[in-house]
């Protein structure tokens, strides 16, 4: 929606041109589709929250489900504010980042409610403590990178620091993935997370180059071209996958591994 510059194509909220379903032309196709999908996500999250609250024994997981539902409510309000107040930059950035946080919350719910997680048990205490540090640092670095990326996307400034910070994301990811490969080769999920993180990071770098080239093309007309739309959208989408990998690996490292001192 941002890539097609459709964020204000529907000037009212929560209705669209005073209707629940306006003519789907021009930028309205993207903006209203976004609202409809958001509504479906909100309803599904409500159902999930109710089910977890009624059936889940672990208080932390119940709270996470409730937090996810509250997050989607806040996200809807932020979306309304962006429309009513003509895309104020801090709100637009917050709206982008909260969407990614919500995605990670829901992914975490899926992880901790999986059979493998529920039936599994903490591993023996021969795992290095720095594993948790690497993964939590990688997750934090990726989240900072996403904030910087959202700032670039909504203000057009800060691309240099966004590129420079990518190095931190790469270095921490390599350290975290290497620590998993070397120390816990048999704990498949963490190994998979490390490989998934690095794979997505490589793809993300390529998409970032594509996004930069297409948005700075001297021959770019007044409207974004298809290539620019695809690169910028894909760059944002893969970015949240990188964050998800780091967050889930961090959760696993903290919840499923005991340090040597606890052994």
């Amino acid at each position: 929606m941002t890539s097609t510059e459709s964020g204000l194509s529907v000037p009212d909220w929560p209705l669209s041109y005073g209707q629940w379903f306006p003519p789907m032309v021009g930028g309205i196709r993207f903006e209203h589709s976004h609202r409809m999908i958001a509504g479906i996500v909100g309803l599904l999250t409500l159902v999930v929250a109710v089910l977890f609250w009624r059936l889940e024994e672990r208080a932390s997981v119940r709270n996470l489900a409730l937090a996810a539902f509250l997050a989607v409510i806040v996200q809807a309000v932020l979306g309304g504010i962006t429309v009513r107040y003509f895309l104020p930059k801090p709100i637009s950035v917050a709206h982008a980042c909260l969407g990614q946080i919500f995605f990670c919350m829901v992914s975490a719910l899926a992880l901790v409610s999986s059979r493998q997680w529920i039936e599994g048990a903490p591993r023996p205490a021969d795992q290095p403590g720095h594993l948790r540090a690497f993964w939590s640092a990688a997750a934090a670095a990726v989240f900072v990178q996403l904030i910087l990326g959202a700032w670039v996307r909504h203000t057009g400034t800060g691309v240099v620091i966004h590129i420079v910070w990518a190095l931190a994301v790469i270095v921490l990811g390599i350290l975290a993935a290497a620590a998993v490969e070397g120390a816990i080769g048999h704990f498949r999920f963490l190994t998979f997370s490390g490989r998934f993180y690095l794979s997505c990071t490589v793809i993300q770098i390529l998409l970032g180059v594509g996004a930069f080239v297409t948005t700075h093309d001297p021959k770019r007309g007044s409207l974004p071209r298809l290539g620019e739309i695809l690169f910028t959208t894909a760059h944002q989408a893969v970015g949240v996958l990188v964050l998800m990998a780091a967050v889930l690996a961090s959760i696993t490292a903290f919840a499923r591994l005991r340090s040597k001192s606890a052994g």
């Binding site: 194509s9 000037p11 041109y17 930028g27 007309g221």
Partner: protein, 233 residues
């Protein structure tokens, strides 16, 4: 007797009907260099617009006239009228959404003068004024024939107007606190009429090539000064 009265009245009428100031600044905006080829914007995202423009429509960002002059340059008196107050006209400036384009593409309006916005198209539009010194607005206009009126109360050069449904639709409004403004037309010409004597800063603004200023001094009430602006492509 009657003849004398007639001529006295006629003379009085002639004096009263004449503008107090008849000075003017006029000229042309030239374009130097090779005119850029404007992109052909496709309007496929809206079937109604695609019907009107099946092959698209040339962007109006740079319009170089056949005689080498530049169209859609906003020229106005930026400085030199300190202390002068000019009442805003009650007659609205009409801003139309027609054939999935804004008409006019560049226009001037006095602060406090009404802006009447029309949707003459059989499709919906909206008008987003990206103002900084005036309140922004983003008005949905879903119905053909719909009219809305807005007023910019503060001078602001320039305000970008966009249709957020059809991103190729862009226009610019120059909001000034005096009636001395013009937009260069298909001959690149402009004229700022009825200026009082004084020294002025006249600014020319183009959406791609930016702003230029010149200083002009009007000595007598009926003097006409010629100035020229030139933009390099």
């Amino acid at each position: 007797m009657i003849n004398i009265r007639f001529w006295v009245l006629a003379a009085a009428f002639a004096v009263l009907a004449s503008p107090v100031h008849a000075a003017a600044v006029k000229g042309k905006v030239a374009f130097a260099g090779t005119p850029p080829v404007m992109e052909m914007v496709k309007m496929d995202t809206d079937p109604q617009c695609a019907l009107i423009h099946p092959v698209g429509h040339r962007s109006e960002e740079v319009v170089v006239n056949a005689d080498g002059t530049l169209m859609n340059v906003f020229i106005y008196v930026k400085d030199g009228l300190a202390g002068q107050k000019y009442e805003a006209p009650k007659t609205p400036v009409v801003f139309n959404q027609l054939s999935c384009r804004f008409e006019p593409h560049v226009f001037g309006i006095q602060a406090g003068q009404p802006l009447q916005i029309l949707n003459s198209d059989p499709t919906l539009h909206n008008v987003h004024a990206v103002a900084s010194k005036n309140p922004q607005f983003n008005l949905g206009m879903p119905i053909q024939g719909m009219k809305l009126t807005k007023t910019f109360m503060s001078p602001e050069a320039m305000i970008k107007l966009k249709c957020e449904v059809h991103p190729w639709m862009v226009a610019y409004a120059g909001v000034v606190d005096n009636p001395f403004f013009a937009v260069s037309g298909s001959d690149g010409a402009f004229e700022l009429k009825d200026l009082p004597p004084g020294t002025y800063t006249v600014e020319a603004w183009h959406e791609k090539y930016g702003a230029q200023t010149q200083s002009v001094t009007i000595g007598a009430a009926d003097e006409t000064k010629e100035i020229a602006f030139s933009y390099q492509g």
